[in-house]
């Protein structure tokens, strides 16, 4: 099994706060992490490798700092890491990003061998689009399965447990395929001090547009059909009626009488 996992370094959006005065995001001091869904994808890749053997490569597009995320991936089971980075890639929307990543995947494959599986997190927790995975599949002309909770591989057959709105599905496809991964039932493996130190010593190669057979008109802002017109912080509605300082049963009865007054019950 030759497995590629696409990862993104993201700000930990659970740590983001809104400045109450300027009403803008406070990004300073927010830690950068491996996108959690990508970490689940990598963990599934490691589990697939444990039963099928193989090699796991992690690929990230981003600035030089994203190598920290790639090192984290190396410390939990990835064998190889590659960063693709170029100033011409800045401002890419999902179509441009997936184009750059698929071009990079082809370049890596030309130098080594084809990937059997390409795994991505279902979405990155900053952009929250969930589009790059399926778009990579389209660029490469591969089959796709999204929202995977579990993956098993038997020869060329890939069996995916997929979450679909109010149900689970078992989907079969064949390699090569692109699969996007949700939170799995597995506890992702932790890095050890040794694996962290080993990962830190790795020199991660950076590929740039010069290493790719790429049309730069299709990358970056120029290559992005969607444009951000404006951003703003969401407004929450005003507070309602709060019952406090009463016993559990008093407050329950008070709530019922309020709901009844409002003709809600």
């Amino acid at each position: 099994m030759n497995i590629l996992v696409c990862v993104k370094q993201v700000p930990d959006t659970t740590e983001i706060k809104i400045d109450p005065i300027t009403n803008t995001l406070i990004r300073a001091g927010v830690p950068s992490i491996v996108n959690p869904f990508d970490a689940y994808a990598l963990d599934l890749a490691v589990r697939i490798k444990e039963t099928n053997g193989g090699l796991i490569t992690v690929l990230s597009m981003g600035p030089e700092q994203a190598k920290a995320a790639l090192k984290e991936c190396l410390s939990v089971g990835a064998d190889k890491a590659i960063l693709v980075s170029d100033r011409a890639f800045g401002g890419s929307d999902t179509l441009a990003t997936s184009y750059i990543l698929s071009t990079t995947i082809k370049a890596i494959e030309n130098k080594t061998e084809k990937f059997d599986l390409i795994l991505c997190g279902k979405q990155a927790i900053d952009g929250d689009t969930g589009q790059v995975g399926p778009e990579i599949a389209e660029h490469l002309g591969y089959a796709q399965v999204t929202y995977a909770e579990d993956i098993t591989v038997d020869g060329k057959i890939v069996r995916v447990t997929r979450e679909n709105d109010d149900r689970h599905e078992i989907i079969e496809t064949q390699i090569p395929a692109v699969i996007t991964v949700i939170k799995t039932a597995y506890e992702p493996k932790y890095a050890t001090i040794r694996s962290k130190m080993a990962a830190n010593r790795v020199q991660i190669p950076t590929m740039t547009s010069g290493d790719l057979d790429i049309d730069l008109e299709r990358a970056g802002l120029k290559g992005s059909p969607t444009k951000v017109k404006k951003t703003f912080t969401p407004q929450l509605k005003k507070s309602g009626i709060i019952i406090k300082g009463e016993t559990g049963s008093e407050s329950a009865l008070k709530l019922i009488s309020l709901l009844s007054d409002a003709r809600l019950i």
Binding site: T13, I16, I18, L25, D93, T94, L95, S98, Q123, I125, D126, D128, G130, Q131, G133, E135, H139, A143, T146, R162, E163, D165, D166, R167, H168, E169, I170, I171, E172, T173, Q174, I182, K183, P225, T226, K229, T231, F232, T233, P234, L236, K237, S239, G240, I241, I242, I243, K244, G245, G248, S249, S251, A252, L253, L255, I256, L258, L259, L264, I265
Partner: protein, 338 residues
Amino acid sequence: MNILEDYKNLWVYIEVVDGKAKSVGLELLNPGRRLATINNEKLIAVVIGNDVYDIAKIAIAYGADEVILVEGLEYKEYSTDGYANVLEKLVAKYKPSTLLIGATNNGRDVAPRLSCRIKTGLTADCTGIDIDEESGNVAWTRPAFGGNLMATILCPNTRPQIGTVRPGVFKKIEPDFTREAKISREKIHTPKEEIRTKLIECIKETSGELVNLEEAKIIVSGGRGLGKAENFSLIREFAEVLGASVGSSRAAVDAGWISHINQVGQTGKTVQPKIYIACGISGAVQHLAGMNSSDIIIAINKDEDAPIFNVANYGIVGNLFEVLPVLIEEFKKIKNDK
């Protein structure tokens, strides 16, 4: 680059599951009508499936001016390859200016495949759609950064403009089953070997409780404040008395107390019930993003400063283990009196 002027009319994709139209498709006919009217376009529903003529008629009842219907045995179950092929061929033939797709798992599976194939812009998981006054483009508004930030996105230079829109954001209009409109059948076949995925098994939740959160009228949700998995029985009991669906915060899912299928929030489901009851949920912005457009929000939490109280219409600051049993008993009495 395609010529923008050649592209006309607003399409709404009506997703069909188990022979029924998903609510979101019918919901989208409502804002779709408004946008189509502003740009002087027709509102056209697209229905794909096997034996789904009835769904076309339902789309007309909910406001479609016309329906494009594609039927085939190969479309009985959703597949990325089959459905992307149909949508690609339809777009090439009819050239719509805009395509709205419900942001269900299948909607978010097919939309990027399609938009990438025809090299146009796609905006994910929108909670607002409007027409940008300056340009006449669709202005897609969506949450990002875990619901901390909203962004308005345009797709000015390529057509169609495509967006996936969250279920539960817009309300369906009152259906009029006497309405009549044209239903155009299109024959598009996808050869078997081109459909590379196969649905082997479909496992519906068997826990007995209602999990169709997107279409629920009442939802009782539990969070970290429940303390342990067993205490979810209190939430389930309350939900059963109310005929409600059971939801949860991410914390409860992460703790392994309940399935991700029940999760409400940015990385779970977006819901808009008439009544949403949050029990032991602090109200992280990610959770609020998934439920703050509910009609009435009731929150029970022991922490007075919990952000959930900022969006609650009614709040109880107190111990949910003392409050819930009384509420359950009282609602049982109310139910029995009826």
